[in-house]
């Protein structure tokens, strides 16, 4: 079985930051592997270790600078990586779900995996739609917000999905399928030093849109970012000093008062 994992380098923001126009000023930004994708990679690598998968491939849309982040997945056990970049992507401010769907679907068609794992959402733009949209586009089955996956399957995956209000659903999903992976499904490993060393020699293939047969017009966004602002906060914070034993009762009291717990 072949697994394709979509991964993304996301922007991270410092606690204190300033907004410039419709973005956050560069000096407050960092970059990291999207947290949800880290769990998706771990799940794929575990499936490989369990003998269910025999190849794990990652795909990302991003410029050359994101390769170091993408190699984290290779260091953790993915076999090879595909990176999509194109001159036409250079000037795109907001790559919307439609564009990502077109591009990633083309990769899925080329790679022909049995299972596609994505994160539930990206930590920066938080569309939370790409995985399901790709499935819909390709006519794949899909399962969103998966927080458990059985590690023995052939043509259908047994998954547990997180629904609203703390309700969970157990379901069988026929392959090929796209599963969007929720944080907490596993405990992502650290890349081992040996893994980091080996990752340098793993294949990282770079493709342009034309290589995938995707027309440049696909990246024209239908969405436009018009404003960015910090919402007025109406929350307040209560902190207690002291050990858990001393303060747990006070916390329980507060939760009861606020109607959160009974």
């Amino acid at each position: 079985m072949k697994i394709l994992v979509t991964v993304k380098e996301v922007a991270t923001v410092e606690d204190e930051f300033e907004i410039e126009g419709t973005g956050i000023a560069d000096q407050y930004l960092g970059a990291d592997l999207n947290e949800w994708d880290d769990y998706a990679i771990e799940e794929a690598v575990q499936l490989q270790e369990a003998g269910v998968a025999d190849e794990v491939v990652t795909v990302t849309i991003g410029p050359e600078e994101c390769e170091q982040t993408i190699r984290q997945a290779l260091a953790k056990g993915a076999d090879r990586a595909v990176r999509i970049w194109d001159d036409s992507l250079e000037d795109v401010d907001l790559l919307d779900v439609g564009a990502k769907t077109e591009i990633l679907s083309a990769v899925v068609e080329e790679e022909d995996p049995d299972l596609v794992l994505t994160g539930v959402q990206a930590g920066d733009d938080s569309f939370g739609a790409t995985g399901v949209s790709v499935a819909e586009h390709l006519g794949y089955q899909w399962g969103a917000v998966v927080n458990h996956l059985e590690h023995d399957f052939d043509d259908a995956a047994s998954v547990r999905r997180e629904l609203e209000g703390g309700v969970e659903e157990l379901t069988e999903i026929e392959l090929p399928a796209v599963l969007t992976i929720q944080t907490g499904i596993n405990e992502p490993r650290y890349a081992s030093l040996r893994g980091i060393r080996q990752a340098q020699r793993k294949e990282l293939d770079v493709k342009a849109l034309a290589d995938l047969g995707v027309d440049e017009s696909a990246v024209d966004a239908e969405l436009e970012l018009t404003d960015m602002y910090e919402p007025e906060s109406e929350s307040d914070v209560t902190t207690w000093e002291g050990s858990a034993e001393e303060t747990a009762g006070e916390l329980a009291e507060l939760l009861r008062d606020k109607g959160v717990a009974q």
Binding site: R189, A191, L193, R194
Partner: protein
């Protein structure tokens, strides 16, 4: 001339930082206060391959060079020196086995260390033997196909948690030269007659285990002798450049961690209506700390790079070790000063950095010995 790190080296640094932030920082104060060896963290670190980073790939390690090991040490020490040392010292002594051991010894001793199943140690110092290593009196006498060892070893890292120790012993008391007649023998901790006693009350690096070893007629099979009999000093000298560079990297790490903490605090702490980082007195301190740290890092990386090129850098390694350990103490001291009263208690990490920094001027050759070495090389006075 190339001054940057490779992408792989940056990735190592970033992943080690991620590990340290998540697994070490939340527990650092606890292990320091309780003077407790961090077994759980060491196990996690072993899974990531941090304990055997320099053990060759064929024996289960990552086969990393002196420079990469320095990067790892710097990063770990910048978060907590006590736990960092506990992790990195798990393979102490294995360099002798790696370089001079036979195939059987490498399989028996290197592989379990790389897998995190066993902890090793190096046992050189004695109650009366510090900088003058030639006064080692622990005696190994041959009896049939065994060595019978008697003596005391002092200040031994991993003394009560280690599974085996590469021990410097006198095997030929009649040898003529001052540096002749010593051998390195692997002594397992479960041999009869081996006892160890934990040393508590250390100024710093309190998570790291330190002990006195007592050897009372400990019988060791002859196949545990590393390399040639009587060659211990020649063997040991091979590693001085690498091990001193390693301690230099520890010093750079401590300075880096203390600077990071001081920068954070200076921007947070407000007095007279503004953050104290707005005051030039504090700014100049921060500037000095950063400059010294960078200078120490450059000396250290250059020494590490030279070791990896196979160059003779006795002087350079001693310079890096002496300077980096000195600035570690300096920078940690200034970091406490910037914290004021808050730096004097263990609510902030700088109090620990201040105590932990001192050891880097003492172990692996004191600052005075390093200066002797540098001067001897400058004046071409020979060994």
């Amino acid at each position: 001339m190339e001054f940057g790190l490779s992408e792989e080296q940056e990735q190592i640094r970033d992943e080690v930082a991620r590990f340290a932030e998540n697994e070490i920082v939340p527990h650092a104060e606890e292990y320091d206060t309780e003077e407790k060896f961090p077994h759980d963290i060491v196990d996690e670190a072993a899974e990531m391959g941090l304990v055997g980073a320099s053990i060759p790939i064929e024996y289960g390690g990552a086969g990393y060079s002196t420079l990469e090991s320095a990067i790892i040490a710097e990063e770990l020490f910048s978060y907590d020196p006590g736990i960092a040392l506990s992790i990195l010292a798990c393979s102490f002594g294995t360099e002798a086995i790696r370089e001079f051991g036979n195939e059987d010894q490498k399989e028996r001793f290197l592989e379990p260390v790389a897998r995190g199943e066993k902890i090793s140690g190096a046992a050189i110092s004695e109650p009366d033997t510090g900088s003058d290593v030639s006064s080692v009196s622990t005696r190994a006498e041959k009896d049939g196909d065994e060595w019978v060892i008697n003596g005391n070893k002092m200040w031994i890292t991993n003394g009560t948690v280690g599974d085996f120790f590469v021990m410097l012993c006198k095997t030929d008391p009649d040898a003529e030269g001052r540096y002749d007649g010593f051998s390195q023998i692997v002594v397992e901790a479960d041999r009869d007659g081996f006892t160890s006693e934990k040393i508590t009350g250390k100024l710093g690096i309190r998570a790291s285990d330190t002990a006195e070893l007592i050897l009372d007629d400990v019988r060791i099979p002859e196949e545990n002798l590393i390399g040639d009999q009587g060659a211990a000093f020649l063997q040991q000298m091979q590693f001085f450049d690498a091990t001193r560079t390693g301690v230099a990297a520890q010093g750079v790490g401590i300075a880096k961690g203390a600077l990071r903490a001081a920068l954070d605090y200076a921007q947070d702490r407000e007095q007279f209506g503004k953050s104290i980082s707005e005051f030039q007195a504090i700014q100049h301190k921060l500037a000095d700390m950063a400059t010294k740290t960078e200078a120490a890092r450059n000396l250290t990386y250059k020494a590490a790079w030279n070791v990896d090129q196979g160059n003779d850098i006795t002087k350079g390694a001693s310079m890096a070790k002496e300077y980096a350990s000195r600035i570690a103490v300096d920078v940690a001291n200034e970091a406490v000063q910037i914290h004021g009263g808050s730096g004097y208690v263990n609510d902030f990490p700088v109090e620990r950095f201040y105590r932990d920094s001192k050891i880097t001027q003492i172990y692996e050759g004191t600052s005075e010995i390093q200066k002797n070495v540098i001067a001897r090389e400058l004046l071409d006075k020979g060994f």
